[in-house]
Point group: C4
Chain length 229, copies 4
């Protein structure tokens, strides 16, 4: 993907997080990667959304080293770098503090598959990380956040459950490209909202069957997907 | 109804589900039927809402067989077909994953008539289907969803309670035409929202009396309706 | 007040209920009265809000008898008439099914003064009516709704607590003119929302003191009001 | 800061409270101070937001005495004066009745640091004042509201926890200037919303560690802040 196209895609992904109500103030950031060259494009730190143009997007290599020097990258860059290294299948990452996903992250509540809205995008329970240790927080906080997400995913396919809730923080979400990561972040917020409401109504809301989970997930994903034109 | 008018009505119904906040992403679909010719018009699968025009709407017969070949129909077509066959009184169907109706569908909670907002549009409790069996899910999922809805309605008048919550999925809603189906879907979301809030406050919120239920429903429906100009 | 001005004020009050999110579909209605001539102006029944102009507003006398014959009045006219007769101090009435006020009406929960937002507009608990009897519902439903509201207010000053929740139905709200009734309906929805959230958190949320209640209410109302320019 | 710039900043702060949904009707007010001259600029009382221009802003000295006579100041002026006197570090104050912050103020619930959204702006629990006594309410209500806030902050740094919930009333929030006060009020509403949802799910939701609290707060505040360009 040409660098200009990637910068535009990352800018659009960042703006879409605001348009969909997932990001307030300057919380949140989106990035994308060109796997051929190993170049990452990420939001700059603390720039108001209305002012951003593709030229504000920051370019780094796969170690997170800046390849241009105009703007400082998002303060969460090292988390993105860790995820791109851990998950070679992914091409875009979105981090938000969207309300209900964050409520569940703060409550350390995994989100089970309660319905087909969930199953259309996530093939199973969306997990919560363990808490970071004080040592991790003080010595290598941002990179450790990436490590603990990778540790939580373990050897599962990161594209089958493309989100993790970081305990006491909020969601990191990914996809094959930045636009898919935004879509997954939007669906995550909706299923988190429904999961919170379900948990208040019934302490143990019923999960859907594996048959229904697979039926919906595989309708939209994988070799036998039938959804769309 | 001329085919062009039906396509426009179905397009508007689909767009209205988005305008009223009942549908996010490409979840949801609306259809209509011309009973004289037995032709069904339904949303295409996976086309972004802003791009849709009447020409994108897909035409099928009452077996769900495509009558034109431009676009693939909504992946829920077979549910719509089953409902049009089971309920000859209805002329439009809307399926959404609207937030509160879906929360109640996931919790397997029927929605009792707690107030006159409900009674103006639904003459009694809005029911939830049983769960589909693994065999139904794996062999004939979409059509079985229609069958289980029809099984849930039983021999009641489908226009007296024009919605069913599909367990672990979301609402299917209908009406005499696509526009009425959308209106019923909007009211369903509102009464589901109020029912959730009522159930959190009181485990057994009080239903209104049959006298009040009938007074409101019959003011707007049937031979003795007095509402409107 | 000239009739044209009253019709415009009533139209604006009706449109404001939609703008403030208090009314969906065609639920809800607002009216005003000219006390000198005893003429009532009220919303027509079942006309979509975008189509309404002042000419659509319906004129009646204090018995609810139509003084013009173009449009049928709101189906709740007889409730408005009963309230104008019972409360000579009031000049405007608004009825909505606004979400949280309706949730509290369905739950038969009075709204105690939990904070100064409430105290600025309501000098005490907002009450809920008793349920109507089956006989009242079947023989004189709309007028009986007005009677039971008046019965609930009793000999209190209707302008000190300008709203009542009708059990299983929703709020009726009033003021010295239609615009004030809309403002009171908007504040009612907000205090109902906060009361619901308070009741979920604590079964018996603490009411504010009479000293604070009076301090706030009397800052905005009565002979010694100091608020505004 | 020139007086015209301060008036514009205070006007913008007031309008932003409405734009961000923190203020309904004419509830709420924002002010700013020029510390060199000791002049305070505050919203006028009871003027509709759409009509306000910089010329409507009211100028007072540090005793709250009017320095011009065109408009009456916000009825909460004496609270602002008390806070500017108690906290020399602050340059702007915002008062709102924003929904969730007010719900927590009514419930007398302090807001603990449940996540990093909170920690980015508040270095610890956001406290609730004691109730005012009847004597305070009847003799010096508005100034006493300021005193009880200062009493609640005690000898803590007011810029480390730039908000207090006034029991039975709502939040007062501040910052180094009016714009920062608005931002803090917006974040407060979001963390109050998440705290309410957390408390409903778990009676005692877990607070984040001091290490994480400091890591996030100090990334954005103080001599070693690294956030932004």
């Amino acid at each position: 993907m040409p660098l200009d196209a990637l910068k535009s895609a990352v800018l659009e992904a960042n703006l879409d997080t605001v348009r969909h109500g997932l990001v307030k103030a300057t919380f949140g950031n989106a990035s994308g990667i060109d796997r051929e060259t190993g170049r990452i494009v990420i939001k700059p730190s603390g720039v108001p959304y209305p002012e951003m143009t593709p030229q504000y997007m920051v370019l780094t290599d796969l170690d997170g080293a800046a390849l241009d020097n105009r703007f400082r990258p998002s303060s969460d860059l090292d988390t993105h770098v860790a995820l791109y290294r851990a998950f070679p299948q992914i091409g875009g990452i979105v981090h938000t503090h969207s309300t209900y996903a964050t409520i569940m992250a703060q409550a350390r509540r995994p989100i089970p598959p309660l319905g087909t809205t969930h199953a259309d995008y996530f093939r199973g329970t969306i997990p919560v990380t363990r808490d970071l240790t004080a040592e991790e927080i003080t010595t290598r906080y941002v990179a450790a956040t990436g490590s603990v997400i990778a540790e939580t995913v373990g050897d599962r396919d990161p594209l089958a459950i493309p989100a993790v809730l970081v305990a006491g923080h909020g969601p990191f979400v990914w996809g094959r490209d930045p636009a898919e990561a935004v879509m997954n972040a939007m669906i995550l917020e909706e299923v988190a909202k429904m999961a919170w409401h379900g948990a208040v109504l019934d302490r143990q809301p019923p999960a859907i069957s594996d048959a229904l989970l697979d039926r919906h997930f595989l309708r939209k994903h994988g070799a036998n997907a039938t959804y769309g034109q």
